[in-house]
Symmetry: C2
Subunit: 382 residues, 2 copies
C-alpha cells in the first residue's frame, strides 16, 4: 500500500453485523472505507449503515466465499464463521484479518488451550474430553469448569462441575475441563498488530461480572494492578499475537490469581467488549485501531484520556419483545456519560443491547457515576 | 418525549448528504436513530451509510415535501433548501430544526443583516443594493465587501470593492455592501438550544484563513482571547439563538476589531466547519450536540479535553478528477492526529475533501504538529 493509496476504493467485508461491526463502521467512516456486511439477520445493527448489506449465513461456505471474493480485505466481528471459505479466499489473494489460522484456534477452546501450552503461555490446568463419560476420569481434579469446545459465547456453553452428581447435567459434547482458578480479579488487555509488524498495547482494564448472567457488568479502565503486573500482561499479549502471527486487534482476558500470577482465560481476535470504553476514554479507539491494523496503517496512540468505567446495557430479566430504554434521558443529563445503543430490535433477559461509558477525573468518581447510571437506566420491552 | 421513548423508531430526515451530514450520522448512530438523506448527488458522502438515501433536489418543493412528510424530525446540513416545503411540513406537524423561519433569515444575507440591526446584535455597517447601478450611491463608503444576498457559500459570492472601477466587475444581483472591518482576528462560537430551552456554549475558537481560497485554513481551539471577550461572545450568541427562537446548533462567526469590539459576521444554523475539532477535542462533539438538541435530550458538556488545531483538507490547486490522498499514512503515524476523509469521489482546486484534527497538551505543540501535517498531506487527482 503506497503513500498515494486511495482508501476510498478499498472494499472491506465484515462477517457479522452486530454492535461490534457497527462501531467498527463508525470508525471506518472517518477514512471513507467501503463496508460490506454479511449477517443472517436483516435487522442487524449494521444493516442500515453499510455500503451494502448482504443477508446470509456466515457459517455457510458458498455464502462466505461469494461474499468475500470481490473484497480487498475481510474481517470479522464474531469468531463463529466458516473458516474453509476464508482459507479459500486467503489463497485466492483476499486479505483475511484475523487470518483463518487464528480463527481456527479461537473457535475451538480445546485448540486454544493446546496453543497456550505449546507456546509457554500461562493458563489454568485443563483436560480435553469428548463426552460426559470421559469426564468421570477427571473427578479427582474437581471442581472444574466445563467449557464446550465450540459454539459457546457470552457466558453460554460454560458449566461448573463440583461433584460427581453434576456430571449427569454436563454438556454431552467435546469440552475442555478447566481447574477452578482462585482468582483475585479478572483483567483484559487489547493488543494490535499490523502487517509491517508494529505492535500497540492498550492499558489493561479490570472487569466485574454479573454472576447470574456470567457477563461483564462493570469494566474499569485502567486496571488497578501494579506496574510489574501491567508489564507482564503486555509480555503475554505480545507473545500470543506474535505466536499467532496475527494481524488485527486481539483481546486477551486473564485471571490474576491470589498469588499474583497471571493465567490466560480466553482470547478474541477482534474488537471486544473489554475495549468499548476506548471510544471516549483513549486517544485511539479499539475500532479505529482495528481499521488501522487491517489496512496496514501506522497504529494509533493508546494512552488513556480519562479514567473510565463501562457498563453493558443488558436486557432486564423477564422482559422480552420490542425494546425500549427507560431513563436514557436522565443519564444523558450527566456529564461524561456516553450511551451507545446498538439498535437491536428486540430485547430478552441479559441480551447485550448497548453500553455506556462513563469518564471522570478519577476512577472513584467514575464508579460513583456508573452506579447512578446503572440504577437509572433499564432496558425493557414495550 | 417521555422517559421511555424508543428512539430507534424516530425517523430523522436530513436535507443534504455531504460531510456535515456524514459526521452527524456517525454521532446519531450512537443512539440508533434512523437517518434518511436527501441529496441530488448519488455519490454524496452520506449515500452509503444512511438508512435510506433519496437522490433528489432539496431545492424543489415537491421533492422536499414528499421526502419530509413521513419523518418525525427534519434537519439540514446546508441552508440552501426549499423553505416553503419546510413550512408546509412544519404546519403539518413535522418537527423542523432549525425552523424554516430561521433558514429564511440565514439564506438571505440582507435579511441576516436586518435581523442583527433589529435585535441590537453588533455587526459592521451595511447597505442593501438591488444591482450594480445602486452600488454607485455608496462610493463614499468604499472600500466595501459585496456579498450576494443569496446563493453564496464557502467563500463564493463575495467580492471586495475598493474603488469605482471595481463596480463594473461587481455581482449584478441583490447584494449586501459591508464596510471593511479592520479586524485583529476572526473567531467563532457554537451554541446549542433544545426545545425545553436549555442552552450550551462551546468555548470560542479562532480561525486563520487561506486568503486565496477565502476558506478557513487553520482553526484553533480555544481562541486566544480574554475571559471578558469570551463572555461577550457567549452573550451575543445567546442573544442570537434566543431572538431566533431556534432549536438545534448555531455557529456564530465574529470579528474581533483592533479596538477589541465584537462584530457578528455570519451565522450558520447547523454543524459547522468551525466545530469539527469538537469530535476529538471536546467532551461532546457538535454533531452529538445537534442530535441531542433536535430530539430534545439534555445538552452535553462542551468542555475542552485537549487544545486542538483543525485543518481543512482542501483539493490541491490545479488538480481535478478522482481524488487520492498523498501522505495520509505519514500523518497517521503522528500522535493525536485524527483524519476525517469525507468520501467525495472527485477533487478540484480548494474543494473541502476532509479535515484533520490535531490534539496536544498545548496550542503551540498542536500548531507545530499541524504545520508538519499540512506540509505532509496533499489532496490530488489520480
Amino acid at each position: 500500500m503506497n503513500l498515494q493509496y486511495n482508501y476510498s476504493k478499498l472494499k472491506i467485508g465484515i462477517l457479522g453485523g452486530g454492535q461490534l461491526g457497527k462501531m467498527f463502521m463508525q470508525a471506518a467512516m472517518d477514512l471513507d472505507l467501503n463496508l460490506y456486511i454479511l449477517d443472517p439477520d436483516i435487522s442487524a445493527p449494521c444493516a442500515k449503515h453499510s455500503t451494502q448489506f448482504i443477508c446470509g449465513n456466515f457459517n455457510d461456505f458458498d455464502t462466505v466465499f461469494e461474499f468475500g471474493k470481490n473484497m480487498d480485505i475481510i474481517t470479522v466481528e464474531i469468531e463463529h464463521v466458516n473458516i474453509e471459505a476464508l482459507e479459500k479466499l486467503e489463497n485466492s489473494g483476499v486479505k483475511v484479518y484475523p487470518q483463518p489460522s487464528v480463527l481456527r484456534i479461537v473457535q475451538d477452546k480445546g485448540l486454544q488451550k493446546d496453543f497456550y501450552s505449546k507456546n509457554n503461555i500461562p493458563t489454568s490446568p485443563y483436560f480435553l474430553v469428548s463426552n460426559s463419560s470421559e469426564i468421570k476420569n477427571h473427578i479427582s481434579e474437581f471442581p472444574v469448569m466445563q467449557k464446550m469446545r465450540k459454539g459457546g459465547y457470552d457466558g453460554k456453553g460454560v458449566k461448573p462441575l463440583y461433584s460427581e452428581k453434576d456430571i449427569e447435567n454436563a454438556f454431552e459434547v467435546p469440552s475442555v475441563l478447566e481447574k477452578f482458578v482462585d482468582f483475585e480479579k479478572e483483567i483484559a488487555i487489547i493488543v494490535a498488530r499490523n502487517k509491517r509488524g508494529e505492535i500497540a498495547f492498550y492499558p489493561p482494564v479490570e472487569m466485574e461480572f454479573n454472576s447470574e448472567a456470567n457477563l461483564v457488568e462493570l469494566l474499569i479502565s485502567p486496571a488497578n494492578i501494579s506496574i510489574e503486573l501491567k508489564e507482564k500482561t503486555k509480555s503475554i499479549a505480545e507473545l500470543i499475537i506474535k505466536s499467532l502471527n496475527m494481524i488485527g486487534i486481539l483481546a486477551v482476558e486473564m485471571f490474576v490469581t491470589r498469588e499474583g500470577e497471571l493465567l490466560v482465560n480466553e482470547i478474541a481476535p477482534r474488537p471486544h467488549n473489554s475495549g468499548h470504553q476506548t471510544i471516549e476514554g483513549n486517544k485511539t479507539s479499539q475500532y479505529s485501531q482495528h481499521v488501522r491494523a487491517i489496512i496496514n496503517m501506522p497504529l494509533g496512540n493508546t494512552n488513556i484520556i480519562y479514567p473510565s468505567v463501562m457498563i453493558n446495557l443488558l436486557g432486564e430479566k423477564g422482559f422480552q419483545g420490542d425494546v425500549k430504554y427507560m431513563g436514557l434521558e436522565s443519564v444523558m443529563a450527566m456529564e461524561g456519560v456516553y450511551p451507545h445503543i446498538y439498535g437491536k430490535k428486540t430485547t430478552k433477559s441479559f441480551r447485550k443491547m448497548g453500553h455506556i461509558t462513563i469518564t471522570a477525573n478519577n476512577i472513584e468518581e467514575a464508579k460513583e457515576k456508573a452506579n447512578i447510571v446503572k440504577k437509572t437506566i433499564k432496558v425493557i420491552s414495550e
